[in-house]
């Protein structure tokens, strides 16, 4: 940042920096560590977590300094309107790639549910395979009886929503509450945005803090649900295709909520430090778009994983 030029007609091209390659180093160590950890577990060897932890720390620290640097550059007036548009394009298409990531898992859910499980049960032209391998398998969704229960334990129960008429059961149904919480949080984060536009810092802090709290509550309820599934329902990752799709879809969504909550918390910290102006709040906006995205994914989850 040798020259904080005020000439905003010039697109700011940052000088050489150490951040990116250290992110690459951190990621490399992190995934190498996770890989050897998993392989050690598989082989029954006492796993070492050292590399994983070092990589994680390098990654987190570097990202911290990197984002701090970008924020500094913005407050130094280096970021002109055109560069902000680059940020907007960047974030939007990043979210699109996340949508496609979830689509892969939704695709797996639809394919197994509509086609694979039915074929195993003797439907369609490919019936012979199922008849030959597991003649007793009766297709259903949720799959509570696996084709081969000796290899994959049957889940005791599913997470399926109660029938529409059972009002009492619905009020105790955690996923419904989680839906309400997440939908509410989309509104609160929007109110926080409006507060920025109105230069109302108190409201900004309150609505943003409220959003973070809702995110945390969602996560706590989700953990509660997982504990319930594992301990009381016998529904686990290795209990056949229903458990597989259920935990990967809700699990990756939960991971994204974690990330989103953390990003919003960082924005809250920035808001408390007095950052964000009506026309200069990209960090906040990116965080809120991400939050709306995890919200939309949850609505799809609620419909296709829990209710239908």
């Amino acid at each position: 940042m040798s020259d904080p030029s005020k000439d905003t007609s010039v697109y700011y091209v940052p000088e050489n920096g150490w951040h990116p390659i250290w992110v690459a180093v951190g990621v490399f160590l992190l995934v190498s560590g996770i890989g050897s950890w998993l392989n050690d577990l598989q082989a029954g060897v006492e796993p070492s977590r050292l590399i994983l932890i070092i990589g994680g720390l390098i990654l987190i620290a570097t990202l911290w300094f990197w984002f701090a640097r970008v924020i500094e550059e913005n407050s130094a007036g280096l970021v002109n309107g055109q560069l902000k548009r680059s940020y907007v394009w960047g974030m939007s298409w990043f979210i699109f790639s996340e949508v496609m990531f979830f689509l892969a898992f939704f695709g797996a859910l639809f394919y197994t549910r509509v086609l694979a499980v039915q074929w195993l049960g003797g439907e369609g032209e490919k019936a012979i395979t199922g008849d030959y391998l597991w003649p007793d398998f009766v297709p259903s969704w949720p799959v509570v009886q696996n084709p081969d229960p000796l290899v994959f334990n049957n889940p005791g129960e599913s997470m399926q929503a109660p029938a529409i008429t059972e009002i009492g059961a619905w009020s105790a149904y955690l996923p419904l509450w989680n839906t309400i919480i997440l939908l509410t949080s989309s509104f609160t984060v929007h109110f926080a945005h409006t507060a920025i536009k109105n230069r109302d810092r108190t409201k900004l802090n309150l609505w943003l803090a409220g959003t973070v709290v809702l995110g945390v509550v969602f996560l706590i309820l989700q953990v509660e649900e997982y504990v319930h599934a594992y301990n009381e329902l016998g529904l686990t990752l290795d209990s056949g295709i229903y458990g597989s799709t259920f935990f990967l879809l809700t699990g990756f969504h939960g991971f994204h909520v974690c990330l989103g909550t953390f990003i919003l918390a960082v924005q809250l910290g920035r808001a408390l430090k007095g950052h964000f102006e009506p026309h200069d709040c990209f960090g906040f906006e990116a965080a809120s778009w991400y939050w709306h995205f995890v919200d939309v994914v949850w609505v799809c989850l609620f419909v296709f994983v829990y209710v239908v």
Binding site: S9, V13, P14, N16, F28, W93, S97, Y111
Partner: protein
């Protein structure tokens, strides 16, 4: 490669125009699109040589029937890693390197839109490939399930090193996603005034569309390897029918990624030859608009044809018919392109410098690969061709004299702009003819052995295939070693080539040719005004 040169740049903003930093940190910490482009291109050349070495090990083993040099288990690791290294390490990074070098210069931009992320996109790759290649030295050996890593070969029956393979794929995917976000932001946001969408050079257009394909399918690849990881380590049953999953589902998800991936490797090649052919025909590109629409149509169709890779797995008849006809439809926009390239050459005053030779060879040989693709698209015929050397011949025709030839053509064409020096035309032509003859001797006989029934991915074969395999292996060694000549031609040009003019080629059009050669370290701090004639060739 690029020397800092200030004379072209307005003096007012000279403080923004540092030359490159000195020493190693220039390359490690760089945010400059030209430096990063150079890194990508040399990286991909290194991967080409490594992947090529694996290919030559395969061809040496197949020189004669019987087992000569290597064990079948090791042979499987060679075919797998050859494919993965060439697809993800050689072809894709080479095109990203070209995009880095060329997009800002073609659009009149100072640099890529997000320069630091650009550095990260590149530097993930050497780590990812170190991880992937290191699997070959792990206990139990490297990935041995083919580059398509079908479950359950890649899950239940995979060596332990598959875990690292999965993470390497994750890292490559992250690199590609960041790279394509950067390319999209650059193209949509960094165009100089007057550079409307329909004035963009075709290389820019094809990369814009390719970047969307990458964004749409790399996350799906990440999803499918994640499911593999969970099947292997956490007991899920996505690809195991005993738990209600389906190994065929792996193929569906993989090819939903895999088919657009094929076009990711060929659309930028279309862009490259659409720049080169007009230059050496001294005519504007015929049918520019239709080229844009054809590219978009191909991209759209690439999402609805994936199951033509799986005709023999047992799909419902309606599915086979749909995927067969949808696949054949791709021949229409592709035909438009080939027609346009030929029409561009028609009655042009053509000259045949090395980039043009590679481009013409591209048009002819890629079309052969396209025709064999049409044969494979016919479901009942595919029952016979599936998993034979005919398929190997088909996709090597589109990838080697297709994608790779276009990359080589691009390097010859723009090298004078990058380093300010000309390559040795006589050596370039020798390189071309060796490559052209080598590639055809290698892959043309594989059509015949495939139609006669020789299966792919085997280290030994029946005696009746011996002659074709011997010819094929000789061609492979000719082709492989002539790429060392390519390296020599490049280094010779960079070190001691004759100085290039700024226009370089008499018939060249486009903004990059208005810059001096070598192009200054920062191209356009202040955007130029674009007039129609300079926009695209």
């Amino acid at each position: 490669m690029s020397e800092a040169s200030h004379h072209h740049v307005p003096a007012v903003h000279d403080d923004h125009h540092h030359g490159p930093a000195s020493g190693l940190t220039r390359w490690l910490f760089t945010t400059n699109h030209k430096d990063i482009g150079t890194l990508y291109l040399w990286f991909s050349f290194a991967m080409l040589l490594i992947g090529g070495t694996l290919a030559l090990i395969i061809r040496a083993e197949l020189f004669q029937p019987g087992l000569q040099f290597i064990e079948p288990e090791f042979f499987n690791q060679m075919t797998t890693n050859h494919g993965l290294i060439m697809v993800f390490g050689a072809i894709m990074p080479a095109f990203v390197g070209l995009a880095n070098w060329l997009l800002p210069m073609m659009l009149g931009a100072p640099d890529m839109a997000l320069p630091r992320m650009n550095n990260l996109s590149f530097w993930i790759l050497p780590f990812a490939f170190s991880m992937m290649i290191s699997t070959l030295f792990m206990e139990g050996g490297g990935p041995n399930f083919g580059w398509t890593f079908y479950a359950p070969l890649s899950t239940t029956y995979a060596p332990p090193s598959v875990t690292f393979f999965i993470f390497a794929v994750h890292m490559m995917g992250a690199s590609s996603i960041m790279g394509s976000i950067n390319i999209i932001a650059t193209i949509l946001n960094m165009r100089a005034p007057g550079m409307t969408l329909m004035r963009m050079p075709l290389f820019v257009w094809t990369w814009l569309i390719t970047a969307y394909l990458l964004l749409a399918v790399m996350p799906v690849l990440a999803g499918v390897v994640t499911m593999m990881l969970f099947d292997i380590h956490f007991g899920t049953s996505f690809f195991n029918a005993a738990g209600g999953g389906d190994p065929v589902m792996f193929q569906h998800i993989f090819w939903f990624f895999g088919h657009p991936e094929v076009y990711i490797m060929i659309l930028p090649a279309f862009g490259v030859v659409s720049q080169i052919i007009p230059t050496f025909s001294r005519k504007p590109l015929f049918g520019y608009d239709s080229m844009v629409y054809a590219t978009s149509s191909i991209a759209f169709l690439s999402f609805i044809v994936w199951a033509h890779h799986m005709f023999t797995v047992g799909m419902p008849l309606a599915g086979q018919l749909f995927f067969m006809y949808a696949t054949m439809l791709i021949a229409v926009p592709t035909g438009v392109k080939v027609f346009n390239w030929i029409s561009t050459m028609w009655r042009g005053s053509m000259t045949f410098e090395t980039p043009m030779l590679f481009s013409i060879a591209f048009v002819v040989l890629f079309t052969i690969g396209g025709f064999s693709g049409l044969m494979l698209a016919i479901a009942p015929a595919d029952y016979q061709y599936h998993d034979t050397y005919f398929v190997v011949a088909h996709f090597h025709y589109v990838l080697v004299p297709g994608a790779l030839f276009s990359i080589i053509a691009a390097v010859y064409y723009w090298l004078p702009k990058w380093c300010g020096r000309m390559y040795d035309e006589r050596l370039g032509k020798i390189h071309f003819w060796l490559s052209f003859i080598g590639v055809n001797i290698t892959f043309f006989p594989q059509h015949f052995s495939g139609l006669a029934g020789m299966p792919r991915r085997i280290p030994d074969y029946a005696l009746q295939f011996a002659d074709f395999n011997m010819i094929s292996s000789i061609g492979a060694f000719v082709f492989g070693f002539s790429q060392l000549l390519f390296g020599y031609v490049l280094i010779k040009a960079i070190v001691s080539g004759r100085k290039a003019t700024s226009r370089v080629w008499e018939g060249a059009h486009g903004l990059e040719w208005t810059l001096p050669s070598p192009a200054p370290y920062h191209s356009f701090t202040h955007p130029p005004k674009v007039v129609e004639a300079e926009a695209h060739s």
